[in-house]
């Protein structure tokens, strides 16, 4: 079950959205402001973040900036929701900070769910790529390690063989005065 972190200072909005998303089958956790969400995010990141823009302590923009600061989380979709900042400049700022969508009230729950679905699909795509990248990277490291071990052993054996041959040759030779 995908996990959604939701930040909104307005209790009613929080409640409505949480209920709607839970009904759509998501595991939702709500936070009063950006800071609270970020604290939890750093402990255990969700699959998607939905955040109000205007909030005390840490607003939506700051939250987005903080989340996007770490490359590891640049694929986690963030959707901004705002009743207060519905103007174009606010929206563009949201996108520029790294939001994937910016919705203004009134919010249609079904539209939100459809968008979440679409965003999660892309997120899954990227995650599966990341996962297989990690797997491939590990495999590469393992192969490289094995190869270098082989190389060392091979060098060592070649050297040993050389020495053995030199010694056998020396041992088989008549003493210097007979040469």
């Amino acid at each position: 079950m995908e996990k959604i972190y939701l930040a909104d200072d307005n209790k009613t909005n929080r409640y409505v959205l949480e209920k709607a998303l839970a009904a759509a089958g998501y595991n939702v956790r709500t936070f009063k402001d950006g800071r609270e969400l970020l604290d939890e995010f750093l402990k255990e990141p969700p699959d998607i973040i939905i955040t109000d823009v205007k909030m005390p302590v840490m607003d939506g923009y700051e939250l987005i900036k903080a989340v996007r600061a770490d490359n590891t989380y640049d694929h986690i979709p963030i959707v901004c929701i705002s009743a207060a900042y519905t103007d174009l400049a606010s929206k563009i700022q949201g996108f520029n900070e790294g939001a994937n969508d910016y919705m203004t009230t009134p919010i249609n729950e079904d539209e939100l769910t459809a968008k979440i679905k679409s965003l999660l699909k892309v997120k899954d795509l990227i995650e599966s790529l990341r996962k297989s990248e990690t797997r491939l990277q590990n495999e590469k490291d393992r192969l490289n390690l094995l190869l270098s071990t082989f190389n060392n052993r091979e060098n060592r054996m070649v050297e040993l063989k050389k020495e053995i041959n030199a010694l056998l040759e020396e041992a088989g030779k008549p003493p210097k005065y007979m040469q």
């Binding site: 996108f95 520029n96 969508d101 459809a114 990227i126 990341r130 990248e133 091979e154």
Partner: protein, 599 residues
């Protein structure tokens, strides 16, 4: 530059969108319906698709479905735009069909641009990941391929490692391995034997325990150097309990895994026998050198190719009068007369097997003197060159002596006196012309026969008498006896017999000089007869009491001549008186003659 595909059937909208996006730096391709966009998309996909929903031929939903049908294009963002369907249901349908956003006209261009930018960012993220993954897959495939090769090498390695272990176990030399911490890790059986210690005695114990007390510090130093990466070769000797010295050659080298030194190892070889042999060799080489240098026989060594002298000994230098330094700049041709050059060159070509007498050659000394040299040669390799060792035996004196002997033999052979050589048991060994004339036998008739051939019957004791006298070392001068000729006639002979000695002074044979004195005897008999008959002393001729020579008074100088010369024509007219020739006078009365001379 990101490729943006736009599908819009309304010309004005299409134009506005296209212009706006192009102004923002996008590579924009505009199409009048979904079908056209899709056709182009299939040829070369766009980075982002913006499409109207309501269009002829192929509408927006259908286009989205077609694009999403291929999983390859899952990540390409699609934005639906509609002026007609503004209701929520349509928007949800659009999003559900696979579009990433659904915008409703009128469209705010800045918002659209911000969305396009955000979507392209995600798409780039995806594509970069995909690219990195493709690279990784390629790398890993290459690595896996390499591994397959390595696995074969690995099994070969394992095999050769086992072989190495077997070699080390059965090696004729000692092998050891000491860990980085300085403790024994392994020693092979030869090492065990050399040190009188077993692997289990030393394993995991510090390496110092096997070192003699006086060399512990040295060993520590060597181990330190090897652990620092140095490979060291050396020789060591140690006094054994039985008083003999044992020599070892050894090496120490670091054992590396990668660049890390994890241990040291090395080999140790007992070279006592070799050392002893080397010492013995040096000794015997010195012995031979002395033998060569101080040998009385002139010896030289020359190069067969260049004929240059490679070495000469003292006697050789002295014999020819050059210094050793001069010789080393000369060839063997320089000590030959020119007449010998061809003979020499031919002779040098012959390969000798062992010591070979090459014959006698003429050699020229520095002072120009020519000497006869008997050459004894021996082929050898000297200082890496094919050479001949030459013993040069100067036989000039021997040659001269031989010539003297030959000369004497010629004299003997042609002497008028009969000269016979005989062995002590009476066998005739030589027979000259005079003997042939006197006895009538030719040389071939008598050689190897007994001297008794010449003895008339009844005179046998003669031989033993002579033999006894010879054996006692006496010279017999004037032994008068009778001999028998081949024709049976007996003749009076005077024999002088002398012993022949060998180099040790032992009598081995005798030579007899015989002279026919038959005539002489007859004269004497006649003289005695006439002395008895005549009384007068007229015409008295002195006859030497010593040698029977007669003074020839008819000649002015009165020489003393052999009676044979004289008697033949004058015998009937003379009487003899006793006298003595000057030779016999000197011989018999040396005092008298000296006094006479004084007077």
């Amino acid at each position: 530059m990101a490729r943006v595909f736009i599908a819009e059937d309304t010309k004005t909208n299409r134009y506005i969108l296209e212009k706006m996006l192009r102004a923002n730096g996008y590579d924009v391709h505009a199409f009048i319906n979904g079908r056209e966009l899709l056709d182009q998309f299939m040829l070369k996909p766009a980075d982002i698709v913006i499409t109207d929903i309501q269009m002829p031929v192929m509408d927006g939903y259908e286009l989205v479905n077609n694009i999403r049908a291929n999983r390859k294009y899952d990540h390409i963002p699609i934005i639906l735009i509609s002026a007609t369907f503004r209701d929520i249901q349509s928007r949800i349908k659009g999003l559900d069909s696979g579009a990433n956003d659904y915008l409703v006209a009128p469209i705010d261009t800045d918002e659209l641009l911000a969305k396009v930018k955000a979507m392209l960012k995600v798409k780039d993220l995806y594509e970069n990941l995909q690219k990195a993954q493709t690279e990784l897959k390629k790398t890993n495939t290459a690595l896996k391929k390499e591994m397959t090769g390595r696995k074969i090498v690995e099994s070969e390695l394992r095999e050769s490692e086992e072989r190495f272990r077997a070699i080390v176990e059965n090696a004729p030399f000692g092998y050891y391995r000491v860990g980085k911490d300085g403790s024994w890790q392994y020693v092979n059986p030869v090492w065990e034997h050399m040190h009188g210690l077993l692997l289990k005695d030393v394993i995991e114990k510090p390496f110092e325990i096997t070192q003699p007390e006086d060399s512990v510090e040295q060993a520590r130093e060597l181990v330190k150097r090897a652990l620092a990466g140095e490979t060291i070769f050396g020789e060591s000797s140690r006094l054994k309990r039985d008083g003999n010295v044992e020599y070892h050659s050894f090496n120490i080298q670091p054992v590396k895994y990668g660049k890390k030194i994890v241990a040291i190892e090395g080999f140790i070889n007992d070279i006592t026998e070799r050392k002893q042999a080397e010492e013995a060799l040096l000794e015997s080489e010195e012995k031979y050198r002395q033998l060569y240098e101080s040998n009385q026989m002139p010896i030289s060594i020359f190069d067969i190719e260049t004929l240059k002298f490679l070495s000469v000994n003292n006697a050789f230098a002295e014999k020819y009068g050059y210094t050793k330094e001069e010789f080393l700049k000369m060839t063997i041709l320089d000590i030959r007369p020119e007449s010998e050059t061809v003979k020499l060159k031919d002779s040098v070509k012959i390969t000798d097997s062992g010591l070979t007498n090459a014959g006698v050659f003429l050699h020229k000394k520095k002072n120009g003197g020519i000497i006869h040299v008997e050459i004894i040669r021996y082929d050898l390799v000297f200082e890496g060159k094919n050479a001949k060792l030459v013993f040069a035996n100067d036989i000039t004196e021997r040659k001269q002596a031989e010539e003297k002997v030959n000369h004497l033999a010629a004299i003997v052979q042609s002497s008028a006196d009969a000269i016979i050589g005989r062995s002590l048991d009476g066998i005739i060994t030589s027979w000259n012309k005079g003997a042939e004339k006197l006895y009538g036998f030719t040389e071939s008739e008598v050689i190897g026969k007994s001297i008794s051939l010449l003895i008339p019957p009844g005179n046998d004791e003669d031989i033993s008498t002579i033999l006894d006298m010879i054996k006692s070392g006496e010279y017999i001068d004037k032994y008068e006896t009778v001999r028998r000729r081949k024709d049976g006639r007996e003749i009076q002979v005077s024999l002088a017999v002398s012993p022949i000695l060998n180099s040790e002074g032992k009598i081995i044979a005798a030579s007899t000089i015989g002279r026919d004195i038959t005539k002489q005897k007859e004269i004497l008999a006649a003289m005695q007869a006439s002395a008895g008959q005549s009384n007068g002393l007229k015409n008295l001729i002195p006859i030497c009491a010593g040698c029977n020579k007669i003074r020839d008074d008819d000649q002015e100088s009165h020489p003393w001549v052999s009676p044979a010369v004289y008697i033949n024509d004058r015998l009937p007219n003379v009487n003899f008186s006793h006298g003595m020739c000057p030779d016999c006078m000197v011989k018999w009365y040396p005092d008298f003659s000296e006094e006479k001379q004084k007077k």
